[in-house]
Symmetry: C2
Subunit: 290 residues, 2 copies
Amino acid sequence: MKTYFECIPCFLRQAIDTIRRVTDDEAVHEQIVRKVLFAISEMDMQKSPPVMAQRIHRLIRGFTGETDPFKQAKKDSNRFALKLFPELQKKVDSSDSPLETAVRLAIAGNIIDLGAKHQLDEVNDETICKTIEDSLTAPFAADVLDDFREAVKRATDILYLGDNAGEIVFDRLLIEQMPRGKITFVVRGTPVINDATIVDAQMTGIVDIVNVIDNGSDGPGTILKTCSDEFRRRFEAADLIIAKGQGNYETLSGVPKDIFFLLKIKCPVIARDIGCEVGAMVLQRNADSL
Amino acid sequence: MKTYFECIPCFLRQAIDTIRRVTDDEAVHEQIVRKVLFAISEMDMQKSPPVMAQRIHRLIRGFTGETDPFKQAKKDSNRFALKLFPELQKKVDSSDSPLETAVRLAIAGNIIDLGAKHQLDEVNDETICKTIEDSLTAPFAADVLDDFREAVKRATDILYLGDNAGEIVFDRLLIEQMPRGKITFVVRGTPVINDATIVDAQMTGIVDIVNVIDNGSDGPGTILKTCSDEFRRRFEAADLIIAKGQGNYETLSGVPKDIFFLLKIKCPVIARDIGCEVGAMVLQRNADSL
């Protein structure tokens, strides 16, 4: 997906949110904002938004030396999601359609996205719980779910691209409903925003139930060009990709692979691109793959 | 008032809204956005937001050659307000406190601000009518109104700084409640966003009831440095200033003159600066003048 003008305020908001986690020094905030504005003024708008975000977060890391501004936020999200986990697991187990319930909850977990929200405090325990409740009955593409079920059954090598810390606990619910031996779970190579890395996969026990690799990249999505050779080989070889979240959608929606995107729509640009409303729960198969 | 980071998305939105009125050519849109981002990256944040907006709109005019992108929008606003005028005049005339009602309506008229809104279509006939209705009963600083009444009575030379096209029809209601001979109504020197110029004062009949001058500037506010010598002399000599709208507040709130600001709060930055909520109706005397 290309970058739209509407993405620019979001880049700025994200940069300011990040830098405020690193220092209270307003002079530093202003320097970063100027550098970010200059960087955006030069950007290639044909590239996806995470490419710009990657550059911005590199710039902030380079300028401040702080490599993981969302470290504590990620721990908190993991802890909160782990607290909910037993109850969510019961919901799946007692459901008439455990796979559907697990897919719904995995999408609901995508609300824990500190890069996409307009105001950080919109992602709080209360909104997460409400999103979970709503997700169980929200309108949903039942026909795509049948395709998903079939594709999982037929696939032999599935890459499950995770998105955010905390959210990956919700992914675990879905992984438990699928043949684990076929699945490799993927995290980002380096911390960026609150995206999950190997540390989060360890903290939430994902590493104990399924094979986990990282993509070798610091992009908040799957920017194949900046992923490791090893990951790109795995991506090429996989016969099914499950991609969580907006960042993975933005970076992979044009890639000719069999990809199911699972995400919660948090911004009007992606809503327009997909053709749905902000707030929608999306399970969508990559049109390019068919 | 200084510029805050939160103002930056607004500069961009305003620039994009403006350039889309001039051309459908997306390549031009992108060039303008890059120039605007670069300009903002260099800006002096100690200056008020209208100083940056002035620079942005100069840049757009220079690049496109279009000197008045909001020309039609201003005509439409004037026409719509003129259609409402007789009924509003009746509301004032039949009020127990005509001055208060006129002040309330003059503030309500400040909703017609195409620079401040987050989405242009938020300013439509319906929202204007709702704002008018609400304004008659909304919470309001009654004690400041007494000061205002007293100040108008004692003043000998009043400058009434107008803000937007359409809105100036609402100002007319208030002017009619004051000694007209003391009042000079001020419009911007050159078109910028939908701010009123002499053309609007003519179209709405303000020129027929009171002396009208322009400030010689293309700033969306009263940026004294870029106003004409003649206007600055008049500003200096006046013993009371009535300043309408956010732009005049942002540019004059620190100026040591007896100024009453009348405005509708449309953005969280100004809400914080004044200490009120977005949506509030403000009648405030410049603290620096006391």
